[in-house]
Subunit: 229 residues, 2 copies
């Protein structure tokens, strides 16, 4: 008997690695999709490859989409990544990529169609989203409708589910879940602006949330932090 | 006074050219987005450039997304384009690209955010869609919800509209509308498998619908058909 298939969006970060581990633990046969969207650094994709390998995900594909042609974000454009911000999550940040999760979920839907999956898994969560609109539960529910109405499988009666197993977890809660599932967080990369391979800057929003998450979870933090952090 | 902005998905085909002309005639300031999704031929993108030029659309961008990494269609994969089919539109055809319009509308939503537009224009229509699920009205309404819930502008109160001005027009009706708006159809390319630049094969579904459309509309057909067609 083959298990039900799920497709997971794998960024190489802490959250998506945990979401992928959740999908495996839930009994899905997991295939993973990473999106090369013109990131400032390729290290994120390398991390995704490491994570897939550690989790034993054999079908890991990378789809390239050049969002730089659209622009509008510190992650893809010539805008500086903010460091040492006082308030995280106060408003939509400059690292917001226009319609990013919609683009990513659309690609994941295409991948689901090809692999015969109707379960989509994404590591979005309230703690991390820092004001990104395309991480909210009502958004994810709306996307399920689009996936059902816009696919061959949906026309033939399939329902699509967008699973966001981390949605209501704090960063510490995510770390605790991941540790319980055996996730090797040393393989993951959260930093928006890594100074070198495997090294986290410690100052961007993502780094600060990551560090606080490990501290609050009370578990060993395997992250290599930049000197002085 | 500046006019309201709209973003148009421009493939270089007959339909999207007509949709773009509609948007201009409706008073929108139009910017256009073409998607390079690993088509078998680059001629489609060249046609899009010609169409934008003829319509006086200065802001025309091309976003590359490599859907071949996902696969699953005669338009992006190693599947033969069907020719001389008896029935067109009987079922979802092999030229269906997984979640194509969802990917395209997602990219168009990102482009809308960057340009400040909340009006998205797409040339889908019932006559042409030949069973593609992601052209149906209920699908387009569902996507409007995703665009509103998943964008910064939507969070700030904007409503998004997906305009499909050709949705209930036959191919002949589209041609009549376009001619009345001054569209130069010689600049457009419909063929799935063009034997040469500016030449239509005459045998694929798209060619047969195009030819029948001009004939039924009773207007001059400027298409260059392959020898014998």
């Amino acid at each position: 008997m083959t298990s039900k298939r799920a497709v997971v969006l794998l960024s190489g970060g802490l959250d998506s690695a945990t979401a992928a581990a959740w999908a495996k633990a839930a009994g899905f046969g997991v295939a993973a999709l990473s999106v090369d969207y013109g990131q400032r650094h390729r290290l994120e994709l390398e991390a995704a490859g490491r994570v897939a390998e550690r989790l034993g995900i054999a079908d890991h594909r990378v789809v390239a989409v050049d969002l730089r042609a659209i622009g509008g974000s510190a992650l893809t454009d010539d805008v500086a990544v903010p460091k040492d911000r006082e308030a995280i999550g106060a408003a939509v940040p400059v690292t917001y990529v226009p319609a990013r999760n919609t683009v990513f979920l659309a690609l994941l839907t295409g991948f689901a169609e090809v692999t015969g999956a109707t379960d989509l898994v994404i590591g979005v969560n309230v703690q991390d989203y820092s004001g990104y609109p395309d991480c909210r539960p009502e958004y994810l529910r709306a996307f399920e409708t689009v996936a059902r109405l816009g696919t061959r499988a949906g026309v033939e009666g399939a329902r699509f589910s967008v699973h966001a197993p981390l949605l209501h977890l704090s960063k510490a809660g995510i770390v605790r879940l991941g540790v319980s599932l055996g996730v090797d967080y040393a393989a993951t990369l959260s930093c928006y602006d890594p100074p070198a391979a495997f090294v986290h800057c410690g100052r961007c929003d993502a780094c600060r949330l990551r560090r606080a998450g490990f501290a609050e979870a009370g578990v060993h933090d395997p992250t290599v932090w930049a000197s002085g952090f």
